[in-house]
Symmetry: C2
Subunit: 139 residues, 2 copies
């Protein structure tokens, strides 16, 4: 049942070959069965699992969180409040990041808007980065 090479798995899932090997090395993927010539062989289950991992990574879940989610799938009877908790914590984290980036955008945009009049010595961007108390000094 295991006929897929690592290269085929890679193009099926969009995960690079070294990354697949890396996932194996950290235990996110089980060690693959090997062919007679020691090449890794994969089956459909591996494709699904790797797609799950990739998708979760794209959504910004950390490897540790993915490990937990995968562990949950091993226990069909367990209440999925656990998965919910992981996702909810992740959502809070996302909101936090967005808030910080938005504040940052304001600041950088303001910096650019107040731009300069020709030379570095008058540049508002560098002044803005130097901080409120340190204008007109050398860096």
């Amino acid at each position: 049942m295991q006929t897929t090479s690592i290269g085929a798995l890679s193009s099926e899932t969009g995960v690079k070959i070294p990354t697949i090997r890396y996932y194996e090395s950290i235990g996110l993927l089980d060690a693959a069965n090997r062919s007679a010539s020691n090449r890794r062989l994969y089956g459909p289950d591996d494709t699904r699992r790797l797609r799950f991992i990739r998708h979760a990574r794209e959504l910004g879940f950390e490897v540790e969180a993915i490990r937990q989610l995968l562990a949950l799938t091993g226990d069909q009877a367990r209440p999925c409040a656990d998965a919910d908790a992981i996702a909810t914590a992740h959502l809070a984290d996302i909101n936090h990041k967005i808030a910080r980036l938005s504040a940052l955008r304001e600041e950088v945009a303001r910096m650019i808007a107040e731009d300069c009049h020709g030379t570095i010595s008058e540049c508002r961007i560098l002044e803005a980065l130097a901080g409120p108390c340190d204008r007109h000094h050398t860096l």
Copy 2:
């Protein structure tokens, strides 16, 4: 004129001591003068420069961008269009990150809203992560 220890510089600027040494090692800060007993000594210029670096890092500028900004400050006559270009590129990057995180937030929020009814085997979160074509299989 150079009387400040690394510890004092650290508490003045909020940059941790190992980080200051690290900045020196990568050339963001010049190698500090040393006391008779080989301790680093800093003056007000270092404090300003380090504050600039810290502020720019907090704003998410990468070390390489900061290096460029600092290089600009060395040439007072140069048009600050360069600084503007760096900041503008950074702003575009921030906007891109915000857009991606917002899309992500939608997806994770939807995932959570469609939550489960008791057990893992029915959990929408895990299904959502498995992707559109891979529901109801083992991972």
